[in-house]
């Protein structure tokens, strides 16, 4: 790159990221002031809003820049919008929780914004190294967020476990990328795709080794079985709004990178489909079976998030445009109803000494009738009942996979879809246990009511409307994800 090229860099390509970076810097600069506790959430929301608006303008104009390091295609931009939306919801959802727990420090918002920035970088590049750096920009603040409640031993433990496992997973990803670099002398996925056969003839061993190690690294991040053991502990120990963010934001970004690397870049590797299929079967089954025996709803939702990652892996195993757009649809749908469920949990945890065990939900329908209805709706969506969006998410994935299996005459894919459907039957049991507890179980004494803040009411209402609205009109969202997946730059 020479001097004139340097001047011609179009900074609008990273506009959304810059907006977040600037907002973060401002929050850190004012963090020591007394009024920063009030200002930080507002600044964070402003930064996220600007970032989201800039990302919306990019939706119409796909482009690459920064010496091909930044790829603003429709696929990446949709994940930028998901990241921003999840972060905005998390700010609303967590505000009162952090005030009550005396954790409302400005640093929380700064860390949240940096993590969101990392998610954007990760989803928006076709270069393996930029993806890895995005992954790290995302992960390092997340370790700090998991351990954010410094006085709580559980939060400490959650943070340290997340940190050690995350750093170890980074080692695997970097090792994988090193071998891919060795096989191809390039870290750009488009180069790898274009000259795949030549590379394969030259250095197949390095290519396979690199693919396997990268897959292991990402399997840690999306919590695929057998790399899932950290998830329940981290989810249970972290502050609940942070858990809500973990379960949807970083997961969606990691899936974005996974789709770009394995379904676009390395889709030709022999056996990759079977590897994804086996991961999917293990992830769905183990997640659902272990979720049954949990007594804590946060832990149950952790195992449920593992199971949902399994359903999305089924779509990734099939590959192809219909399956991938169904996977993106599912990620969005899952974000909506899972954030809703966590919002209800957050409200109930602002009561002192509560940690979201099942028995604390007894009598919820009397104490908080509206929250109980919303929680039931989210549980029905998680288990995939119509007319919620959860049903259509699963329906699109499994029908796309079956169609792909029939047209490719591939029995393995059809078996995968059947195992997926059986698994979602298992999941009905533990989701409806929450509904049963909140409606039919009774408390010994008077119900301990929580104060419901307007911000959380807004989030719960919005997510409930989203769960039902997208369930009634799923086609609009599906056509958006279809058009997004179609444009890979």
């Amino acid at each position: 790159m020479n001097y004139s090229e340097l001047l011609a860099i179009d900074f609008r390509l990273i506009g959304p990221e810059l907006a977040l970076a600037i907002a973060t810097c401002v929050i850190m600069l004012i963090a020591s002031r007394r009024w920063a506790r009030m200002a930080a959430p507002l600044l964070a929301l402003a930064g996220l809003a600007v970032s989201g608006a800039l990302a919306l303008t990019q939706l119409a104009t796909p482009a690459t820049g920064f010496a091909d390091m930044v790829t603003n295609d429709g696929f990446g931009t949709i994940f930028k919008l998901i990241s921003v939306a999840v972060a905005i919801v998390t700010v609303f959802l967590g505000y009162r929780y952090f005030v009550v727990k005396q954790l409302d420090k400005p640093e929380y918002y700064a860390l949240l914004l940096i993590a969101t920035l990392g998610m954007m970088v990760m989803a928006n590049s076709s270069n393996l190294i930029v993806i890895l750096i995005g992954l790290e920009i995302m992960s390092v603040p997340l370790y700090a967020l998991a351990g954010f409640n410094r006085r709580s031993l559980e939060s400490n433990e959650s943070g340290i476990k997340y940190f050690l496992i995350g750093a170890f997973a980074t080692g695997f990803t970097l090792m994988g990328i090193a071998f891919l670099f060795g096989a191809t002398a390039s870290t750009d996925l488009r180069d790898i795709v274009n000259q795949f056969n030549a590379y394969r003839a030259n250095a197949e061993a390095y290519l396979l080794l690199g693919t396997a190690l990268t897959l292991v690294g990402f399997a840690f991040k999306i919590a695929a079985v057998p790399f899932h053991s950290w998830v329940p502990d981290v989810y249970q120990g972290a502050p609940t709004p942070v858990t809500a963010f973990f379960s949807v934001g970083p997961k969606a970004a990691a899936f974005a990178a996974l789709i770009r690397i394995f379904d676009f870049g390395l889709g030709e590797i022999p056996g990759i489909e079977v590897a994804f299929g086996i991961l999917a079967i293990l992830t769905m089954t183990v997640g659902n079976v272990l979720a049954i025996r949990q007594d804590n709803i946060k832990r149950m939702l952790a195992y449920s998030s593992i199971a949902h990652a399994g359903y999305i892996l089924v779509a990734l195993a099939a590959g192809g445009q219909p399956a991938i757009s169904a996977a993106v649809f599912y990620l969005i749908a899952y974000a909506v109803f899972n954030l809703g469920a966590f919002a209800v949990l957050t409200v109930l945890e602002t009561r002192s000494g509560k940690r979201s065990d099942y028995r604390e939900f007894a009598g919820l329908s009397k104490g908080h009738p509206y929250l109980a209805v919303a929680l039931a709706l989210f549980m029905f969506a998680l288990s995939g009942f119509p007319p919620t969006v959860g049903f259509f998410g699963k329906y699109y994935i499994f029908s796309a996979v079956v169609n792909e299996g029939i047209s490719a005459n591939n029995g393995f894919l059809i078996a995968l879809a059947i195992i997926g459907v059986l698994n979602s039957f298992i999941s009905v049991y533990y989701y409806l246990r929450v509904v049963k507890t909140s409606y039919f179980d009774t408390t010994d004494g008077a119900y301990d009511r929580a104060q419901v803040s307007p911000a959380v009411t807004f989030v719960v209402a919005l997510m409930a409307v989203g769960t039902l609205g997208l369930g009634i009109f799923p086609e609009q969202l599906l056509s958006l994800t279809r058009s997004a997946v179609f444009v890979f730059l």
Partner: protein, 99 residues
């Protein structure tokens, strides 16, 4: 230049790091093992960069060193907090949450 010898050394280092993560009980040693695994990957990248005659690998390694430093800063801060609250950094003691 043939990178095979360098790659072999790196794979051995990576294996030592991985085993260290699995068997060590002290969080500091665990963290050192993770760093060993990361640096083994850096060695692979350097070896291949030299073999292919491209400078991309050198740049990548600089970025990864920076990333590892940031990670170490956050990680060590958390280890210190943990030690203050619990008085130990032995991983077996951290079983408040079912592992």
């Amino acid at each position: 230049m043939d990178p095979v010898a360098y790659v072999m050394v790196a794979v051995v280092l990576f294996a030592i790091g991985s085993v260290g993560v699995l068997i060590s009980r002290n969080i500091i040693i665990l963290f050192m093992s993770v760093e060993l695994a990361l640096n083994a990957a850096n060695l692979v990248i350097m070896a291949f960069a030299k073999a292919h005659g491209v400078t991309d690998g050198h740049v990548i390694v600089f970025f990864m060193l920076t990333v590892a430093a940031a990670e170490a800063a956050v990680g060590l801060a958390m280890i210190i907090t943990l030690f203050r609250n619990r008085g130990t950094i032995n991983i077996d003691r951290f079983s408040l949450l079912k592992w």
